[in-house]
Symmetry: C2
Subunit: 145 residues, 2 copies
């Protein structure tokens, strides 16, 4: 393979693998009969870990943009897993919070999610993780503005 083409190949592998990881989780969620998507789960989990957050904070934590977050929150609201509460002192923003339904769902799904996530990393060592994280962070930084 030519030197220059090598980089396209690596980008391709990265994209392919990320899609596979997401697809696997999506499929497992489905098989388990859960009515939420992986991205919706990520939002629920943040709220579970950190408590009430506004939409900007959620977007920052998940590295999604604001319109995407608006829509994920819309869908979770319709399912009554979260609520947008008025923010006292800033009428532009909401305090997004888990409902008791939402909290119950997070608690019940958590162990299975951890199994799903672990599956990807079978047969990989502790030093592999470190290397992998270092390289991913390096790529991310190379492309940051």
């Amino acid at each position: 393979m030519q030197e220059a083409q090598k980089y396209s190949r690596y980008s391709f592998l990265l994209d392919r693998t990320a899609r596979r990881v997401k697809q696997y989780a999506k499929q497992r969620f489905r098989e388990l009969g859960w009515s939420i998507t992986v991205d919706q789960w990520t939002v629920l989990k943040q709220l579970y870990d950190k408590g009430e957050l506004n939409q900007r904070e959620l977007a920052d934590l998940t590295f999604k943009d604001h319109p995407t977050m608006t829509r994920i929150i819309d869908l979770l609201s319709i399912k009554e897993l979260i609520v947008r509460n008025a923010h006292p002192g800033d009428r532009r923003s909401f305090k997004v919070a888990l409902t008791s339904e939402g909290e119950k769902l997070v608690k019940s799904c958590l162990p299975e999610v951890q199994d799903i996530r672990m599956k990807a990393w079978e047969n990989l060592s502790e030093s592999d993780f470190k290397e992998f994280k270092r390289i991913l962070d390096s790529i991310y930084d190379n492309l940051s503005l």
Copy 2:
């Protein structure tokens, strides 16, 4: 961080980085005034390298599913960069081919695409690439059916 949560974190980093790589390329395509997306580029490049292919072959090579490939090909056809030719001997399928316009575009974009792709990998060594590829492949295999 708890052992189990570590894996979610790695999946998150993988997803985040893959999105960033794609976003960067998209932004550069845009800045260069190109009227194609990154995924559309991938299809054009395959046709440039391998010649005529049917839609299934293109889907397999790019690891995309068939409906997605149908739509990418629709869009590239509208732009008259490729054509669906009848397949002699199998009336179910098409032979997809670059038009002369399409071929000209691939040739003119190729050097810049290589620069875009290279950007992600600055400051990484040859052994980093090898490690990275090995780990990505391992993850992919762990999740394959």
